[in-house]
């Protein structure tokens, strides 16, 4: 009996189907829990899914690369989904036109604050240089952040982790902080979340308000552009 079960497990583990299924299942579970508790920001579905999956993979001794063979089908959709962000932008074009100068200035300063504050705090806590470089582009969407990190001599896969953690954190504490300071302007709220928490923040903003979602997506794209250009220049200047 026991041998039969482990044979089936070995067979299933070797096919991408199992880990694709588990990825969707973990996310669905996280989403249910999140909705159950009135979308309380600290119960972020991505965080719940990641914790559940890491636990399962660790217990079953499954390497990440084996997991990714199944999960890559979900990961691949990030590309077309990023392209699709053109739609909310297009729908909000008149609002964006009206505040073009505030948008551009906020991106420049926001990009510097996001990278500068992370490096400054990390440096105060004596983080190693590789970790500091890897954490600097943490607010930039994953593929660009990995590219920046690699260019400066960081660890791209570590950067990917920091980026995801930052996104989850921003989606968790961002709305709470914005409520605390009584920001009511959906455009500004979405924009601030998008600068700090890129796509994960945008995903959350999109669920709350169309305006917030569009401005968050806009902020994410512009921040990626600004940081990809500014960070390598500044890094050479200071280090």
């Amino acid at each position: 009996m026991d041998g039969g079960f482990s044979d089936i497990w070995v067979y299933l583990s070797a096919s991408p189907l199992l880990h694709l299924f588990l990825t969707l299942l973990a996310y669905l579970g996280g989403q249910r829990l999140y909705e159950r508790f009135d979308m309380y920001p600290l119960l972020n579905p991505v965080l719940i899914a990641v914790i559940a999956l890491v636990a399962v993979l660790t217990v079953t001794g499954t390497p990440y690369l084996v997991y990714f063979e199944g999960a890559q089908f979900v990961h691949f959709l990030l590309g077309p989904a990023t392209v699709a962000l053109a739609l909310p932008l297009y729908r909000q074009i008149s609002r964006i036109r009206k505040s073009l100068v505030p948008i551009l200035l906020s991106v420049l300063v926001g990009s510097l604050v996001a990278t500068g504050s992370a490096v400054a705090i990390g440096w105060a806590f004596d983080l190693s240089e590789a970790t500091l470089i890897s954490i600097a582009p943490k607010s930039v969407t994953t593929p660009i952040a990995m590219g920046i990190s690699e260019k400066l001599g960081g660890l791209p896969s570590l950067t990917a982790v920091f980026v995801i953690l930052t996104g989850i954190l921003g989606a968790m504490i961002g709305p709470l902080l914005l409520d605390l300071f009584r920001f009511r302007d959906w455009a500004a709220r979405g924009f601030a979340i998008g600068i700090s928490a890129h796509g994960i923040g945008t995903a959350r903003a999109m669920q709350v308000s169309d305006v917030a979602g569009a401005f968050s997506g806009l902020a994410m794209g512009l921040n990626a552009l600004a940081t990809a250009i500014l960070l390598p220049l500044l890094w050479r200047l200071f280090f």
Binding site: V46, V83, K138, L158, L165, F191, A203, R204
Partner: protein, 118 residues
């Protein structure tokens, strides 16, 4: 629907080609987003199937970050070693960035409006 999916992938492909040709430090999908945006501006409206496919993808955007997030298991040792600094930097910087950007955006919008009334 197939046409809409083909359009999204086509924009992404054009974006990748653009990056390969120019060597700009940007990801292809972001350029693809700009290409689709320009296309929508020229066309003047969003075709219904494109709206259906895009909105479905965007409603489930969070899910798409899960596989990369699970990559945290590759770096558990390093994070265990430097967890305090990493946690402080991520939480501190996220909080500062959100609040500063929101204040700046609201302040600048007010300033622009006052400037416009003069």
């Amino acid at each position: 629907m197939i046409a809409a999916i083909t359009l999204l992938l086509g924009c992404q492909l054009l974006g990748e080609l653009f990056i390969a040709a120019t060597g700009l430090p940007l990801p292809g999908p972001v350029v693809g987003m700009v290409i689709l945006f320009i296309g929508l501006m020229i066309h003047g409206k969003v075709p219904a199937p494109v709206a259906v496919v895009s909105d479905t993808l965007l409603r489930n955007l969070s899910l798409l970050f899960v596989p990369a997030g699970v990559g945290v298991m590759l770096h558990l040792a390093l994070i265990e070693r430097e967890w305090l600094g990493v946690t402080a930097a991520l939480i501190g910087s996220s909080a500062i960035t959100v609040v500063v950007t929101a204040f700046l955006m609201v302040g600048l919008k007010k300033l622009a409006r006052i400037g416009g009334e003069d």
